[in-house]
């Protein structure tokens, strides 16, 4: 892989891979390490990746494998500081009803999003990782199944169960 190909990979998939690394590693320095190691590993493998060979899934698979290998290093309990934050202009989804001129609504929406992220982090890896691949890396279910070496139905099942667990947790929090 030459530098031009590397630049193209970063341009096309850098944000998705970086966001995925952020979700897995949960603090900025570890996420940056993981992101950097992912691209270095990709070039080390020296496979010529072109856009038709699904380089995004290839990079995500490398990131996931590196993360699994270095789980202790990226242990979540060693979190230095949470990195997640919503954009300053607030969320746009209709679920919140938040408007830019309603700071209170924006604050509630931020809190809600943070609760969701915490609920996701509380899941075991078998359910959390497919969620990140689906929502953060925005991979279709078929590619998630291929990447995780799981049947497509199992991925769907895990996504479903993960969402149920999150819903249950959020509803429990509402009642507190």
């Amino acid at each position: 892989m030459n530098i031009q190909e590397l630049n193209e990979l970063i341009r096309l998939h850098g944000a998705a891979v970086y966001s995925f690394c952020c979700r897995l590693a949960a603090n900025r320095p570890d996420a940056e390490d993981l992101y950097q190691e992912t691209f270095l590993k990709a070039t080390e493998l020296c496979r010529k990746i072109d856009r038709y060979d699904n380089p995004k899934a290839f990079l995500l698979a490398i990131a996931l494998r590196l993360w699994r290998d270095k789980r202790r290093k990226f242990a979540r309990r060693q979190r230095i500081a949470p990195m997640e934050s919503l954009p300053e202009d607030g969320p746009q989804g209709r679920f919140t009803g938040a408007k830019e001129d309603q700071p209170e609504e924006i604050a509630i929406a931020r809190e809600q999003a943070e609760m969701v992220r915490r609920a996701v982090e509380a899941l075991d890896d078998a359910h959390r990782v497919p969620l990140y691949l689906y929502y953060t890396a925005e991979l279709p279910i078929e590619e998630i199944a291929s990447l995780l070496k799981l049947p497509k139905g199992t991925v769907k099942s895990r996504l479903y169960h993960a969402r149920k667990a999150i819903l249950k947790r959020l509803e429990a929090a509402d009642h507190e």
């Binding site: 691209f39 010529k48 060979d53 969320p91 078998a126 890396a137 799981l150 099942s157 969402r163 819903l167």
Partner: protein, 378 residues
């Protein structure tokens, strides 16, 4: 909050909002450039590529006059791996020197070094006795010079007889390669996890003109485990036998390695260990009783989300996510709730022969054991 709201909330909370800094990306570029500068040499010798090609053409799948190419050791030296070079030149490494012509290329397998034979050369990180190293030379039969600029793709990998080559190859065996052009010949030095432990099963070195393992280039016989080249392949491909000493095989170690390599990344055993596991639901549901009147078609909202309600229970879900896009039969999971008397009810969904998504409540004889544990924890 319904399923649709939750979906949007998840999208909002988990969507990719993080961007790598320019500085971080530049660090990657710098490191890659440094490593490539260290590893790649493109010294041009005056030897004419045409001469090499012409001489190689005179040979087929036989041995060749090794003086025409760099030796495996010289190739390693050229790649800046002097200790590996010494290992290749030692008596323990296997010098192969076979050439195969295919699809306009000649592939020459120069040599292989593996396992404990390397332990005496491990003075730095270049050589790892837990790895296998091999060198292949690639030339064009028409005499055109090869370049190490990535413009032509080759997949070079060890393969194991009896193992599906698309599952067990250099990619899955933590492999990589370095290559350089010399005198119009491309030399590729590959490395991967030590394959010596498979020496009694039959080993191959494959090469094809593809980025990844190409099923069209090789044929795998499921019964015998034999791998052969496909003569109808549109590109170039070749297969060499890897002559490792069968006495150095370690079947137990090899089996353990394959078990790790082939296991799904997310072990299905985790399915029943987490709070969201399905555990023994299937049995409990199979032994349960459908509550009369509960079996009914779901309704849909404007976003295509399915809605089911019965008694005091209601649920909204994505039917495609739960049941797939059009497949008939039951979903692989169900929801658990209680009736008014506190008895366990499973809410199950399926798509009937008319393609209608149906829901039903199944009264269970008892809470599945895993859920009892979860309830106890709560």
């Amino acid at each position: 909050m319904n399923e649709s709201d939750l979906n949007r909330l998840l999208q909002q909370a988990l969507a990719p909002k993080e961007f790598p800094s320019d500085q971080l990306n530049q660090t990657i570029r710098n490191r890659v450039q440094e490593e490539q500068t260290m590893k790649r040499f493109s010294k041009k010798r005056p030897l004419a590529a045409a001469l090499v090609a012409a001489l190689v053409l005179a040979l087929s799948i036989t041995g060749f006059a090794s003086w025409r190419f760099l030796s495996a050791g010289e190739a390693a030296e050229h790649s800046g791996m002097s200790n590996l070079a010494r290992a290749f030149e030692s008596g323990d490494a296997v010098s192969v020197n076979q050439t195969v012509a295919s699809g306009g290329y000649t592939f020459s397998f120069l040599g292989i070094a593996s396992g404990e034979n390397l332990s005496g050369f491990q003075s730095d990180s270049q050589v790892n006795p837990k790895r296998t190293y091999a060198v292949l030379a690639i030339a064009k039969t028409d005499g055109t010079a090869m370049a190490a600029d990535g413009s032509e793709s080759f997949f070079v990998s060890p393969l194991i007889k009896g193992q599906k080559p698309w599952q067990v190859n250099i990619t899955t065996m933590n492999g990589g390669y370095t290559e350089f052009a010399e005198g119009g010949v491309l030399y590729r030095l590959i490395e991967c996890d030590d394959i010596e432990m498979f020496a009694d099963r039959g080993l191959y070195l494959c090469v094809s003109t593809s980025d990844f393992y190409d099923k069209n280039a090789f044929t795998y016989d499921e019964e015998t485990g034999e791998i052969t080249t496909n003569p109808d392949y549109s590109g170039a491909c070749a297969l060499f036998d890897l002559p490792l000493d069968p006495a150095k095989a370690d079947r137990a170690k090899a089996d353990a390695y394959l078990e790790t390599l082939l296991e799904p990344w997310e072990d299905d055993s985790q399915e029943s260990s987490g709070a969201t596991g399905t555990g023994d639901w299937a049995d409990a549901i199979a032994n349960g009783t459908v509550v009369p009147g509960s079996e009914q078609a779901v309704t849909y909202d404007e976003d295509g989300m399915a809605h089911y309600s019965f008694g005091g229970y209601s649920e909204t879900f994505d039917p495609e996510l739960l049941l797939g896009d059009g497949s008939l039969g039951p979903s692989s999971c169900a929801s658990l709730t209680e009736d008014a008397d506190g008895n366990p009810l499973a809410i199950c969904y399926y798509r009937n022969e008319q393609g209608v998504v149906m829901g039903k409540a199944v009264r269970l004889q008892e809470f599945p054991s895993l859920l009892k544990e979860a309830q106890a924890e709560e």
